[in-house]
């Protein structure tokens, strides 16, 4: 696969895996209203993932469509960011994971609107509006929990500490990123860091939460090397299609 195709597949897988994670909340959120709120975010991400997967399949030229890519690849052939495969944990963990992701994705989509890949630029333009709302939703909850009760503050502070190490990967450039950026197709991850920091610092301050120090990271989900959690997620997500190939509604 070309760097172009791989770059698009990374975006697609990141959305797909997070959509699946958020879907796990259906029926389990702290309130019926949050059930629907999280499902809406999940479906937005899934919609973007479908467009990106179909595009990646076309770039690949092998005839694989969105279903083949979503349901018939093994764990090591998934290239999502490690952050999004982390388990839902408690509601605060999910909020923090979502907030960090949204702040990153909004910046990425803003930059990708200028991509020379017209399809990718169009997906980014559509996704930017959705990401703006997602960030409002997750940021609102982060402030509510951080600036809430003593218990909610302490628990969400732990969530931030637990998930922050995974942000390192969001801004780490590798050969695929560099090739896609040089071709005018992708955005170099490291260039997204200032806008991310500005957004995150502003909301963390309102949430009365401290920003953890950056630590070295050992996860490269976008290169197919995942944490122990992705395999279980894929097993559940793919089981129906593998048991009933081509099943449709």
């Amino acid at each position: 696969m070309t760097p172009h195709g791989r770059y698009v597949l990374r975006l697609a897988d990141t959305n797909l895996v997070l959509a699946q994670r958020l879907g796990e909340w259906a029926g389990h959120a702290p309130a019926l209203e949050e059930d629907l709120g999280l499902a809406n975010v999940s479906l937005d991400l899934l919609g973007q993932a479908r467009l990106l997967l179909a595009h990646a399949g076309q770039l690949e030229g092998s005839g694989r469509g969105e279903d083949e890519l979503a349901f018939l690849r093994e764990e090591s052939d998934f290239y999502n960011l490690t952050l999004v495969e982390q388990p839902n944990g408690d509601f605060g963990d999910t909020v923090v994971r979502q907030f960090l992701f949204d702040a990153w994705q909004l910046g990425a989509y803003e930059a990708l609107r200028d991509s020379r890949d017209a399809t990718l630029a169009a997906i980014a333009a559509k996704g930017r509006g959705e990401a703006t709302y997602h960030l409002r939703y997750s940021g609102g909850w982060l402030v509510r929990l951080g600036d809430g009760t003593a218990e909610s503050h302490a628990r969400v502070a732990q969530s931030v500490a637990r998930l922050w190490p995974y942000t390192g990967e969001l801004f780490a450039d590798d050969d695929v990123d560099r090739a896609a950026a040089e071709a005018g197709i992708g955005v170099l991850p490291s260039t997204l860091e200032p806008a991310f920091s500005a957004r995150v610092d502003e909301t963390l301050a309102r949430a009365t939460l401290a920003r953890p120090a950056q630590t070295p990271f050992n996860w490269y989900g976008k290169q197919g090397r995942h944490s122990e959690h992705l395999g279980y997620l894929l097993a559940e997500m793919q089981s129906l299609h593998r048991a009933h190939p081509g099943a449709a509604w």
Partner: protein, 98 residues
């Protein structure tokens, strides 16, 4: 829904304006901890299928409502005053527009 949400989250009434120029209409209610969350929940619950272009959220506790027990005193007196309806009057033929 867990008990804490029911006990602690106040109820909001939601009004949606379907299009510019139309009135906001009551569509339902939801629980939220604050006004911002009420708007976001309303957006997620009641505008999923392009139902509206504007949302109002009002704390249910802030709405003053008439008591059904007072219905007779409130609404009965209007029943026999049919002359308050425009259809009660015959319009002279000379009147073109009314």
């Amino acid at each position: 829904m867990s008990d804490p949400a029911k006990q602690d989250w106040p109820l909001y009434e939601i009004f949606i304006r379907p299009r510019s120029g139309l009135d906001h209409k009551h569509v339902g209610s939801l629980h939220a901890t604050d006004a911002r969350m009420a708007l976001e929940h309303a957006r997620d619950l009641y505008t999923r299928r392009q139902e509206g272009v504007s949302i109002w959220a009002v704390r249910s506790a802030d709405i003053v409502a008439s008591d059904p027990a007072d219905a007779d005193a409130f609404f009965e007196p209007a029943k026999d005053k049919i002359y308050r309806h425009p259809t009660f009057y015959d319009i002279p033929d000379e009147v073109k527009t009314l």
